[in-house]
Subunit: 472 residues, 2 copies
């Protein structure tokens, strides 16, 4: 008997609406493009430079943390094993070490009990939004352009996202106040504003000190929290650092969202949230962190203590400081970003119509081009020119073609960056002449045209949404 063709079991309209939106499918699209063109060089990848990665260091780090448990905390073998391998504390087991790192590297003094160790930045954000979104009136403000993980998490929780334009100084406190007031007039409750004050993704801008202070005053006046995301703070272009918002925060206005993806390994999937706000309740005041932990117990239970051990070991090996652990990396990112900027300047003179604001640090620069930048154009760039980059419309809540592109310096070697910029310049010239997208092969079909150059690239494997859109 021949089986009749089976109908689909479900339809997309039976699932949560966010799952069918462009916002989330854009990642799938990027992965498909990257997967079809394994030889393409990636100026899209926001993943950290892996040239010094070594699996042996994972073993060393785990052992170092176990030694710490034995020697500094006095744990017996049974308790060491239990700490690494059993169910554990919902708020994490390396909170003391992370608090020590924040004091040493960020000037943030915080009760370790106010920390929740999370599955990367993304879960830290997700839990915070879940706690703050009690009904359809609670809204998130986000300095825009913003990482797709922010708008995506908010969409999954049905929380409206109101853009606050980044502008030339990274954020405009007046614009923040106006957006909050307009939200209130529209019947919404603006709860918090998301931003990356240090070397934002995708603009690379560092918010000046005076604006940081003004921002804290505005947040207090408007009674909103600031959600500070700081993945790139250790990587300034000029070597100088400004205090984080959390370090300046005397009124508990800032929820600090951390990740070690750029400073240890993305593969640890370890992040954290500092939530030292007090919450009045029937049993007396508790830390906001306690409520985030309650939410976490229903989302992921706890963060793998094995992965936490890798982070702890790295910290312990460098006297508790991630700045110390990343001296080499900070220097190499500084060189890579300089090379990217110098390379752009050489290839795009003033008359080219291609412009950019030099970033202050981090991994990214946003480049303005004289044509609409679509996903189709990215596919053409990969296929015809062998180079990947990120269309900036993915960083806005209401996507549509913009004339902006994000380039990243983090994942390529110096030689690869030069080659990638050559290809990019060729692509820009071609797209400027003929912005109509080329006919694309169907998804899943392999392009048969040879690439301009076949050598494998750092961006070849595992092109993921994290890479196209950066911080997570």
């Amino acid at each position: 008997m021949t089986a009749a063709p089976q109908p689909a079991d479900l339809a997309l309209e039976h699932l949560h609406p966010a799952l069918g939106e462009d916002l989330l499918t854009s990642i799938t699209f990027f992965n498909e493009v990257a997967g079809r063109h394994p030889g393409a060089l990636s100026l899209a990848a926001g993943s950290p430079n892996e040239s010094r990665y070594d699996v042996a260091d994972v073993h060393t780090a785990i052992d170092r943390f176990c030694d710490y448990l034995r020697e500094e905390l006095g744990y017996d073998e049974r308790r060491v094993r239990r700490t690494l391998l059993q169910y554990g504390r919902t708020k994490g087991v390396v909170h003391d070490l992370i608090a020590r790192h924040l004091r040493a590297d960020e000037g943030i003094t915080v009760d370790p009990e106010a920390l929740v160790v999370t599955v990367g930045f993304q879960e830290a954000l997700f839990l915070t939004l879940r706690a703050l979104r009690r009904d359809h009136r609670d809204a998130l403000l986000a300095v825009t352009p913003a990482f797709v993980g922010v708008t995506g998490a908010a969409r999954l929780l049905e929380m409206p996202v109101l853009p606050v334009e980044a502008g030339p100084r990274g954020v405009d406190p007046d614009c923040l106040a106006r957006t909050a007031r307009a939200a209130r007039e529209a019947g919404l409750r603006p709860r918090a504003c998301y931003l990356v004050p240090d070397f934002a993704n995708p603009t690379g801008i560092r918010v000046p000190l005076g604006i940081r202070e003004e921002l804290l005053r505005t947040a207090a006046a408007e009674d909103i929290l600031l959600l500070e995301d700081n993945p790139y703070g250790l990587f300034p272009l000029d070597g100088a650092r400004l205090p984080t918002l959390k370090a300046l925060d005397t009124g508990r206005r800032v929820v600090y969202l951390g990740t070690v993806s750029k400073t240890v390994y993305p593969g640890t999937r370890v992040g954290y949230v500092v939530a030292d706000q007090t919450v009045a309740g029937p049993g007396g005041p508790r830390l906001l962190a306690e409520y985030l932990a309650r939410a976490k117990s229903m989302v992921t239970v706890n963060t793998s203590p094995i992965a936490q051990a890798v982070v702890a070991g790295r910290l312990l090996t460098h006297g508790g400081s991630l700045a110390a652990a990343n001296r080499h990396e900070a220097e190499s990112y500084r060189l890579a970003l300089s090379q990217l900027l110098n390379g752009l300047a050489r290839r795009f003179p003033a008359a080219s119509g291609v412009t950019w604001t030099p970033p202050d640090g981090g991994f990214f620069v946003t480049v303005a081009v004289p044509f609409d930048v679509t996903d189709e154009l990215l596919a053409r760039s990969a296929e015809e020119f062998g180079v990947l980059w990120s269309p900036l419309h993915h960083f806005y809540s209401s996507p549509g073609p913009l004339r902006l592109i994000r380039l990243s310096c983090s994942a390529l070697t110096a030689a690869e960056t030069d080659e990638a910029l050559d290809r990019f310049a060729e692509f820009v010239r071609a797209a400027g002449r003929d912005p109509a997208p080329a006919r694309l092969p169907h998804a899943g079909q392999t392009a048969t045209r040879p690439l301009p150059e076949g050598r494998p690239s750092a961006g070849a494997e595992g092109g993921t949404g994290e890479k196209v859109t950066g911080s997570s």
Copy 2:
């Protein structure tokens, strides 16, 4: 100048309502009780037996997975490093090995692309519920009593949970059908029914084969999915196993939720979901797993590949089979459960008013007692009798005192179990005479009375919600 006492920054009514509910606070309460009484023996802990745990095995497992990547998949060193340490595939990197285990151990044949590796069972469930809950009309059915993580995740997503009484055979398909129809008549859309067919938490019941087959027919007739959770399937009391629902599922009615917390380590936080249902959408049909991965990319991005490597290494060391890896554990749980049941029989003769239905396997037995079981009584048991157990009302959506207690056999040694049962019998006799709860010390205040016995116990440290309520 003296600082004025600062008002709280937020109030509980400003946060998501689930965060203040008894459901989530009961875990906090249990942790406080366990923390105040570190000498109490725990018949509450659902954590796995850790007598054979060894941190050295973590190193061995990671190395074994790296060797597999090199030797069997032909990865070069760079790709091995990248697989473990970089951002990775959202659906996971050990999907092939998990699919192989499901074929070997569970008779489940599944396309590895239909698997999403998650942060434990809990995230697998959370993502599934997020996908299925599109608005307030989508409801979850849950065979009840059910693990608090199920009702908690549903509450966090504002998805109503409709109980389907477990009854003597673990689930009654007619009751499932009636509940689904009543939900429809009330304007709801029943989407799925959660259950543990093998040695459920907390009843230990195994659903008979005939009922499994009937359940699949009922699910098809009512057009709902079955969410099959299987943490204890490898641990039958009689050594015999029945096919899982997923193994019997010819119509893609079953979403299978897996975890290795009981079979590798809870500290890996690795679980997975098998979602091979097709979803019709504008770009053609895709697997439900693809949509769960989209949701995952906004919740945790991906599951730590370092933690996944530990699971993969354990599988590879045992020819891809978790049954083979757990031969010793299966035997020791069988002995522990037998000891628990024999110990109950010796201490509570027929006339005692204490009864239980012998479980078919797993870690738990539900005991009926002749008095109302409250959280206060648990605190009294810990303080006056030095023994912890789980009040069964935490396994129901609308909590209130029941005359039921869950006991667990998994975490104690044989000697500890005997001592714990002696204490438990003393407690039951005392509570039967005087069911009024003792006056409790305030939360945070340390009890000063000496415990009946001071020796440290397996349940002493890290009492967590996972332990009081089991599977996650």
